[in-house]
Structure formats: C-alpha cells, structure tokens
C-alpha cells in the first residue's frame, strides 16, 4: 500500500467517525468521568467508574430522566492536571456538557479554572462540573465557581469531625501527621495543626511529614520515623495506594497506633491492613457499609448488596462512595426541575436543593455550592461482634460507628463571592 493510499483511508475513517459521533449524542444524557484509569491510582478511578455505572444502571432501570438514559463516558486523566485538560477538551468536543471528577485536588483546581474560562468564552454552550471527592477547601471558598458543585465534605469539615472526636479521647497524647505533598495534603496538615491546637492544646504533634504523591512504594522508612516518635495516633489524608501501602508497612512493622484517616475505609486500604486494623483503623465518611443495619435501613442494605453482587469483584472492592449515590440522585432531581439537560438551568436547580438520603437530609448550599451532609466516624471491627454484619474487602472486619456529626454541625462559614450568569 502506498503512503498516499494509507492517508486517504485514515482520513476516511476519521471523517466517518466524526459523522457518526453527534448522531448518538442526542439520545442519552452524558456524564464525562475524568479520573485516573491507568497508573498507580488506576484502582481508585476504576472503582469510581463502577459506582457511577451502578447508579446509571439504577436510574436507567427506572426509565431514565427526561425520557433519556444516562450514559457514563470515561476519560483517563492519568492523575495529571495537564492530561485532564486535554480530556476535558475531548469531552467538550464530543458535545458532553456534564463533567465529573474526584481524584486529586490538583486536577480539580485545573478543571475549575479551565471550565470557568470555557464558559466565559462560550456563554451559549457552558459545561457543568460535579466534584465528588476533591476536598481542598478553597474550591468552595475563595476559588468558588458557579460551575462547580462539591458533594463531599471538605478537608476542614472532616478534620473538625476527627478533632472533635479526639477531644474526648484523653488517652491520646502524641499525634503524628503524614500527608501527600500537594495542595490537598498541605490543607489536611494545616487544618489538623490549627484545630488540634484549639481543641486539645495538650496534645503534642510529634511529627509532620509530607511524602511525594504515588511515588513511595515502601513506606518502611516513614514507619520507622513514626515508631521512633512514640505517637499514639496518626492523622492522614492519604488515598489510593499511598494509603494502603502506608498501613501495610505499618502492619508489617507492628506499629501500634490509631489511624485517623479520610480514605482508610476502601480502595485497598482495609485489605492491606487486615486483622491489624481491628480497633485501630478509623475513618471519617458520609457513609459506610454498617449504617444500613445500625440505623435499620433495609433499602440501603439492598442497594449495597446489589453493588456487591454486580461490581465488587467478588467482594474485593465493595461499595464505598456513599456520596456518588447522593450526587446522582440530586443530578436527576435537578434535571427534572430544570426540565432540560442544560447546564445553567441544572446549576440553578441544584442551588439550595435538599435531598433526603436514608441517613438524613442533605443540602446543596446555594452560596458556595458545598453539600452539607452528616458525617460518621467509624472503626474497623470484627464481623459478628458489636452488631457488625458485613465485612470490607473480604477481611472479616467491617465498620462500627463511633460517632455521628449532624449535617448542620459540619457546616463551616465560607468567604465565597460567586459570579452568577443571568437566569
């Protein structure tokens, strides 16, 4: 085949695929899922995608929304901000106007800026961004944007819950902070230092380490440092492999501390710590798999078991992101309220929207687009003891609630000044 012929064929394929693209676009409401699907955080991105797919299955099973089905379109951003912007462009070029992303505040910050810019330049064709997990406070504070909605409690809210709990634990005297060295890890560190100082001035912060994101494969040197510091408890915002490898190294060295984590409850971390996590590994989340039995919610139990059956890979990766369910249900309500799949109308519909989850009413705060929801602190506990029914990641250990923080008590003031488009 000559080079020229090859060029013609390739051009033909390109034209055909472009022509075929928009024809299907009108049939479904598409949600672009931009998260890491390769590299060190691939398991995290993959789990998130399955959660969204599960919700899309459920919504489409009910007949969809506005007479259309919801379709999740995955884009791999390799956890890089640069790559995410390329994928955002890619999604916009495919005519997708609803975007979701969660992993990495570095990525989320870049997306917010790019979407602000895009919507300013193309006021007729805006895109809307649902953030389900990037929790740097600035996104709903000084950097708040009309086009961004956050469905997860941010760092300060979560650290407030953790430090309130620690306030009542007079046996904890020394705390070690270890976090990922980027904007999110810095936010966790700063919030922990200032809130501990305020609530428990007697606590000594015996270490404060930042480590490179997803580069460390063996945390033993860090564990040796924690061991040497004599800490009673560790506070960490680590996620993905950085969290699971951290607790795995801790387990291997027999480190006897309580782990206060944001993301210790899923995505490989429970399996990595195993039996050594009993009574030691704690998490602050909006949901965990024991809530349905603790608060007697059979419908939520059925929802959990449905995912377990269909997407959990034999229980190895169980349902984890309670907020994805909340987000998708609120998205559907907003679409119905707006009456059309148009970002500006959906955004206005979401503002101040309330939604009844099985565990209380949540509110999408209108002035800064931060979801206000109840939070739980829970501890890894053996199945069969203290009413724990389901385990996580086939460890034989599940969760038990230590305390619940009501939605209104998690709310924090925000200096957000938001520019709004015309209705």
């Amino acid at each position: 085949m000559t080079f020229r012929k090859l060029c013609f064929i390739l051009a033909g394929i390109a034209i055909l695929s472009f022509a075929a693209g928009p024809a299907t676009a009108a049939d479904t409401i598409k949600l672009a899922y931009i998260d890491p699907l390769s590299g060190g955080f691939a398991n995290v991105g993959d789990a998130g995608q399955k959660h969204f797919q599960y919700m899309a299955d459920i919504i489409n099973g009910r007949g969809g929304v506005l007479g259309k089905k919801i379709e999740i379109v995955p884009f791999d951003n390799k956890i890089s901000a640069k790559e995410s912007l390329i994928q955002l462009k890619n999604a916009i070029d495919q005519g997708i106007v609803f975007i979701t992303q969660g992993n990495g505040s570095s990525v989320a910050g870049a997306l917010i800026e790019a979407i602000n810019k895009h919507n300013k330049r193309n006021p007729e064709n805006p895109v809307l961004y649902f953030n389900y997990a990037a929790v740097t406070p600035a996104f709903t504070e000084e950097k708040c944007s009309f086009w961004h909605f956050r469905f997860d409690a941010h760092v300060d809210m979560k650290i407030a819950a953790i430090t309130d709990y620690i306030k009542g634990r007079s046996d904890i005297k020394k705390i070690y902070l270890i976090n990922q060295d980027y904007v999110f890890g810095h936010a966790v560190r700063d919030a922990a230092i200032s809130m501990l100082k305020e609530k428990r001035p007697d606590i000594e912060i015996v270490g404060n380490t930042l480590h490179p994101l997803i580069k460390v494969k063996d945390f033993s040197p860090y564990i040796a440092k924690i061991q040497a510091s004599g800490a009673d408890a560790v506070i960490t915002g680590n996620w993905g492999a950085d969290q699971s490898l951290l607790v795995k190294s801790g387990k291997d060295s027999g480190l006897d501390v309580e782990w206060y984590t944001f993301y210790g409850g899923g995505l490989g971390s429970p399996a990595a710590i195993g039996a050594a996590g009993e009574g030691r590994l704690k998490q602050v989340t909006e949901w965990h798999n024991a809530l349905s039995t603790e608060e007697n919610q059979p419908a939520d139990e059925k929802f959990y078991l449905g995912y377990q059956e269909k997407y959990s890979d034999g229980g190895r990766a169980p349902y984890y992101y309670g907020r994805i369910r909340t987000m998708m249900e609120m998205f559907v309500l907003a679409l119905e309220k707006a009456g059309k799949a148009e970002p500006t109308a959906v955004a206005f519909a979401l503002e101040d929207m309330q939604y009844d989850t099985p565990y209380g009413t949540v509110t999408m705060r209108g002035f800064d687009h931060q979801l206000i929801q109840p939070l739980y602190i829970s501890t890894m506990t053996k199945v069969g003891t203290q009413g724990v029914k389901y385990d996580v990641e086939n460890t034989g250990l599940g969760w038990k609630t230590d305390g619940r923080v009501e939605a209104e008590d998690t709310a924090m003031p925000s200096p957000c000044v938001m520019k709004r488009p015309k209705k």
Partner: protein, 316 residues
C-alpha cells in the same frame, strides 16, 4: 533513637540489596557488551508478573524458581535474535532496540494484565512477624528477601571467581577484544550473560513485586535508579555496583528522616534567611522531601568528580 537507626539500616540494606539484584545484571551486560540495556527494568517487571501468574496457579514457591528461568530464557532469545542482529549497525542501533523493547514489554503487560496493579501477595507461610526488636516487628518476608538476595550475591560471586565461565566473563569485562582473540565463543558468553542478567532482574521482581507493588509503571519507576547504580558503581565492577546499591539505599532511606532545610543549616551558622524572595522555596525545602532526587544528584556529582565511578576500572 537506637531503634530508629537499626531499623533504618535494615531498611537501607533491604532496599540496597534489591537494587543490587537489579543492577548486577545490568552492569555485567553494560560492561561486557557495551549495550545500555534500557529494557532491563522491564525484565524485572516481567519477573514480578510471571511470578504473580504462576503463584495464582501453582503457588509462590515454584514461581520463585520458574519465573526467573522463563525470563532468563526470554532474555537469551532477545540477545540471540534481537540484539545480535542489530549489533552490526553499532551501539546506537542496539540502544534504540532496547528502548523499543522496553515500550513493547510495558504495552504487552498493559494488554495482558491491565493498567491497574495486580493482587500479588506475600505468601501466607511468610506473612508473620519473624521477631520483635525493641517495639518494632521485622516481618518474616523481609528476612526472607534478605536471605535470598545475600545468597544470590554469594552464588554470583562464586560463579564469577571460581568457575571457568566466570573467569572468561571477568576477562571479557575488562578486555573483550582480547578474550575474543583467544578464541572463546564471545557471542555465546554474551547470550549467557544477557540471559543470566535478565533472570537476576526477574528474581528481584519475584521477591520485590509483592513487597512493593506489581503494576505496569514499576519498570519505568525503577529503571533510572538502576542506571544511577551502574554509573556510580563504575563500569565493569560488580563490587562497585554492590557498594553503590547499598550507598543509594542508605541515602534514600535516611533522607526520609531528616527534616532540616538549607535555612536551618544557615541558621546554625548564625545566618537567617529572609522569608521572601525568588529563592524562598529553595531555602525551606527539607532534606526529607528531596529523597527521590538525591540519587541523581549523587550521579551528577560522581560524573563530574570521578567519571569512572567508585570502583570502575576503565573510563569507557
């Protein structure tokens, strides 16, 4: 403090030995054949993946033997039918060949095992604490890793110094042309060394894959460090590679624990740095944050002040 130092030394030793297993093969290949094998870390990755797959079917112990053998055989094939063919076009062609091979292996791994990490676990028989020193446990698997890597070092040392083939390899390290002129089958020795080097890397993959993480990016992450070991250790010197591995292991492990920055150092001499200015970030970087770049800094310094490495015997 004593506990911290002892365990950091143990950690350094473990990491250093792993590095040595990887770099010993590379240093042999590099100094004998003059080929910078960019695909070397890929054979390390293949070792880990093969071990994972074999351990799924017949368990970890057979994998410990089988995976390095298979990878060594693959390495020999690569030398015989790949490198030897491009050899006549010179070193640049060989270099490009190994770079291409590294990509090929990575993409194949992506295709077969997926882009996410695989669940390659430490065998149950070794998943317990071997002993407790002060308050820290040392897991049995880490002891096992140390035993394997030390015995590998001893065996390799004996082969190179006590056997006939070892003598030829040693001679070919320093005087490749001379050995060839004496009528030895140098291409055959090359194939053997390449295959052997690859299987050493694979052995490191088998025991390192479950201790660290088995994922498609593992080759790209360890690859550059291995080159640092070879350069710092010096061409043609296994002892040099050994010393360099332990040195780099210690450097990286201890750097994690040092939380001093340049401004602290200057403050010690009574100089206080202003908090502002363009260089403000440089003053407050702590040594613990620089861990990942220290080996490369070390390599650059080595190239400037002692280009033949710690124990290198020749300049090129």
């Amino acid at each position: 403090m004593l506990e911290y130092i002892i365990f950091s030394l143990l950690n350094s030793l473990l990491y250093g030995m792993l590095l040595f297993m990887l770099s010993s093969g590379l240093t042999l290949i590099f100094s004998m054949m003059g080929v910078l094998n960019f695909a070397h870390a890929s054979f390390f990755m293949l070792g880990a993946y093969f071990a994972f797959q074999i351990s799924v079917y017949i368990g970890f112990w057979p994998a410990l033997i089988l995976a390095p053998l298979i990878v060594g055989f693959l390495g020999a094939l690569v030398e015989r039918y790949g490198l030897r063919t491009v050899h006549k076009y010179g070193h640049v062609a060989e270099l490009l060949f190994t770079v291409g091979l590294a990509y090929l292996i990575e993409e194949s791994v992506n295709l077969i095992w997926g882009r996410s990490s695989v669940d390659y676990r430490v065998p149950d028989a070794l998943d317990f604490a071997a002993f407790t020193l002060f308050t820290t446990d040392l897991s049995a698997y880490r002891v096992f890793m140390l035993v394997i890597s030390v015995s590998m070092f001893v065996v390799l040392f004996l082969i190179l110094t006590r056997t006939r083939i070892g003598l030829i390899i040693q001679a070919a390290l320093t005087h490749p042309d001379g050995v060839s002129a004496l009528g030895h089958n140098v291409p055959g020795v090359f194939m053997l060394v390449f295959g052997g080097g690859c299987s050493l890397a694979a052995l490191a993959g088998v025991i390192g894959g479950n201790y660290l993480v088995t994922e498609p990016a593992m080759a790209a992450q360890l690859g550059p460090i291995v080159f640092v070991v070879v350069v710092v250790g010096g061409m043609g010197s296994l002892t040099g590679a050994f010393v360099a591995s332990l040195l780099l292991g210690t450097l990286q492990t201890f750097a994690v624990g040092i939380e001093y920055s340049l401004s602290d150092l200057l403050a010690f001499f009574g100089v206080t740095m202003e908090a502002g200015g363009i260089l403000k970030d440089i003053w407050r970087i702590q040594v613990s944050h620089t861990g990942p770049i220290l080996p490369y800094l070390f390599m650059v310094l080595m190239l400037i002040f002692r280009p033949k490495g710690i124990m290198g015997k020749r300049e090129s």
